[in-house]
Symmetry: C2
Subunit: 457 residues, 2 copies
């Protein structure tokens, strides 16, 4: 059995979820609690987040059940009471989940998701919720930046080898496709999510043949209708001339060389030389693919400098979100037993209560500002973003296809102001906090300061 077969959602848990749960049970605390998931701040150069990962979470929550093996392990720790272990035996999540659908844009302070359930249930799924949603949101947000930088050119995910494990690799392929990539090299993700898979050859292939030309001809024999040749193994310009020769031979047989790939060197200069070689040679339609250390910054620089590129194969830096490999995301208790709650820890503000986010568009359909408000207050103007996706622990709708989510992102993206799409945005999106929410926050904080900061009797 391989390691992945042993992954089971109810143990994707920090131990403290269980110790807290043991105590809640012991104290008879089973009132409804609401937790809010949100991102506190933007990493450098970021101005938006792309919601992703919800479908996986909705698949996993109903499977958050404790079988014999998990119970035996927990019992073996010698920390838990038999009544708690018995409680876990019958555990299932029975709560409500409200969330911003995948493919939508959201901003700091806005809840991406709120869970309302008996406190043990809402608490136990904390680690799973964050692990699943932060990572896919992280990558979709990074990928959207690459797509923007590529200005209409095609992008392909090449990251699998250097993603943080296989779960990450699969999710990167999905999240980047969601955000506008056109395909992936990742065969497993292609199979699981029906993402177009692409790929041709590595340098190892070229050098295993007696000569570069031999390898080109061999590849053409195997894939005459999808020949893309890697041309930088020995020298990119020489490689392009050899590829041109292959293109001519193919034309004699009524075939077309589809493209060439560059993976090293001065990509701006080389891509222009290669374009010229094929243009002069009478093959203006041969596509130029570029790979190697790409991200939104290098893509933008290359295009600004006049690089001739049709397809960007983006790997590691997108697949690990290298410039911002995590978000400051938190899943915080905001209401327990119908009273708003908060902590006062310095520099870590959480908005209390169950909330909704309302989005306002201008006359051209562009996003002009969001309001975060209490769920129960008179709704302010705007379209509510959080939808109820689970009730009584059961999903309220069929799983959404990746196609649906991808199309939603396209529409959403079209409504994002131009200034926020930039690689280095100079402004930030307006997120207003409703007066009622501000008042409740202030009142709750004052009350806590009064009672908790008083000298001990």
């Amino acid at each position: 059995m391989n390691l992945w077969q042993k992954y089971t959602p109810e143990l994707v848990t920090d131990l403290y979820e269980f110790t807290m749960a043991e105590s809640y049970l012991r104290e008879g605390m089973d009132a409804p609690a609401t937790f809010s998931l949100f991102i506190r701040s933007y990493p450098r150069d970021r101005a938006y987040f792309v919601s992703a990962g919800l479908e996986h979470l909705l698949e996993l929550i109903p499977r958050f059940r404790f079988g014999e093996e998990s119970l035996e392990y927990l019992a073996s720790l010698g920390k838990f009471s038999s009544s708690f272990l018995h409680y876990l035996e019958n555990f299932r999540f029975t709560g409500t989940v409200r969330a911003i659908p995948e493919g939508r844009l959201f901003f700091t302070q806005e809840p991406l998701l709120e869970v309302t359930a008996p406190i043990i249930e809402a608490q136990l799924i904390e680690t799973l919720v964050i692990n699943v949603l932060q990572m896919e949101t992280l990558i979709a947000s990074k990928a959207a930046r690459c797509v923007q930088a590529a200005r209409g050119r095609s992008l392909i995910d090449f990251s699998l080898r250097r993603t943080h494990g296989v779960d990450a690799g699969v999710k990167v392929a999905r999240a980047s496709y969601l955000a506008g990539f056109d395909g992936t090299s990742n065969v497993l993700a292609g199979k699981l999510f029906h993402i177009p898979v692409v790929g041709t050859m590595a340098h190892s292939y070229i050098i295993s043949f007696p000569s570069e030309l031999d390898s080109f001809y061999a590849f053409e024999r195997a894939f005459p209708r999808s020949t893309v040749l890697l041309i930088d193994t020995y020298d990119t310009v020489h490689g392009a001339e050899k590829a041109l020769r292959v293109a001519r031979k193919m034309r004699e047989k009524g075939l077309d060389l589809q493209g060439v790939r560059l993976d090293s060197g001065d990509m701006v200069q080389l891509s222009r030389e290669v374009r010229e070689i094929f243009h002069q040679g009478g093959f203006p339609d041969v596509k130029i693919l570029v790979s190697g250390s790409l991200d939104e910054y290098t893509i933008e620089e290359m295009l600004n400098a006049g690089a001739e590129v049709d397809v960007f194969a983006v790997g590691t830096r997108m697949g690990v979100s290298a410039d911002a490999p995590y978000f400051d995301i938190a899943y915080k208790l905001v209401e327990y037993d119908d009273r708003p709650v908060l902590k006062l820890s310095s520099g870590k503000k959480t908005w209390v209560g169950r909330k909704q986010v309302y989005r306002n568009l201008d006359e051209k359909g562009r996003m002009k500002g969001d309001t975060v408000a209490l769920l129960q207050e008179e709704p302010p103007e705007g379209q509510p973003l959080l939808e109820t996706v689970m009730e009584g622990g059961k999903p309220l709708r069929e799983a959404e296809s990746l196609k649906t989510v991808r199309e939603r992102f396209q529409r959403e993206w079209a409504s994002l102001p131009e200034a926020l799409r930039q690689t280095r945005p100079q402004s930030s999106y307006p997120v207003r906090i409703s007066a009622s929410l501000q008042q409740l926050e202030e009142k709750t904080a004052q009350e806590k300061k009064r009672t908790e900061l008083a000298p001990l009797p």
Copy 2:
């Protein structure tokens, strides 16, 4: 069925592994090939790498087989010949794997692993090899830095919620334990690898009670022998005074408060005040745990500034190796059909041929330099690092326990020169390339330049 159950090693593959394989089969290329896995350069402030991930790889390679579902998917792509699909049906890896064992230190240019097998086999496992080994090596190397910075204090992995998916979370817990962490909050990893699991409570727990003191007493009721209290929810100093009161009540019952945790604010100042409160109160043995945005840099700064910390709970920045979220790692063909091969691509040097790394120690048992040499040349001085771990596609030994590997790392670490252990090392470890290897490299490159860079006839 959850997503992880569908992960299967033979599809942890970039598509080009299959297109190359199709062509190799078609061309009748089945000679032995050797691929070398190595890291080209150090990220900033890095001076060593900790080998990790080999056990997982050795488990996965024999499972790299093509069942019906995988074959159907590959057939559905419409790219592959029926003879190739038939070949895959009977595929199994039959080659040799030589590798540096887990827990050992290695350096740039040194092969961490070499695979020798018929070229299709060695090629098809490329993506899997890199994905498995780079990530665990990345984290073990980062974790070792944190352990060094903590100067003998205890460390715990708190990263699961923000690792890149669940596979990463599990592997981070294992890799950090391997490199000297003492436990993890990650229950799944605790179960899979017998790592001690730790954890007490979140802020949500504290704020769900009418008062902080109520929550402290409730926790003590549930876990009287392992009470650790989170004290920064409202105000750290007030929290410490409340915890002191709990400690006194516990003492009356013959119990000991184990510790308190700080998660925000000026950790240096607060940890000193908290220590003073417990010291003055007659509880000098109460441990101080610190968490929140920790890595080797912040740990070092805190200790240099006189922070009073017994345990560091290190999360996100270690779990994603935030300052260096990937290594420049490559799996390169170095020999095919008994001839050395290489590419000439600019800035990406690979040493040709099958190789061994020899390590030399000084009279005090400290590492003083390695030599990378051809496997078949007269061995230079030193202990060879790569061991043959698989032959004929079968592991040559039982799987190593994490305990074994962890102890190996402890011994290895003791032999690393002090200067290289620093958070910001100013020197680098000497890695010499043998004269024979240099000559073969030069000769191979010259020959390739002569034949591949000549004008086309």
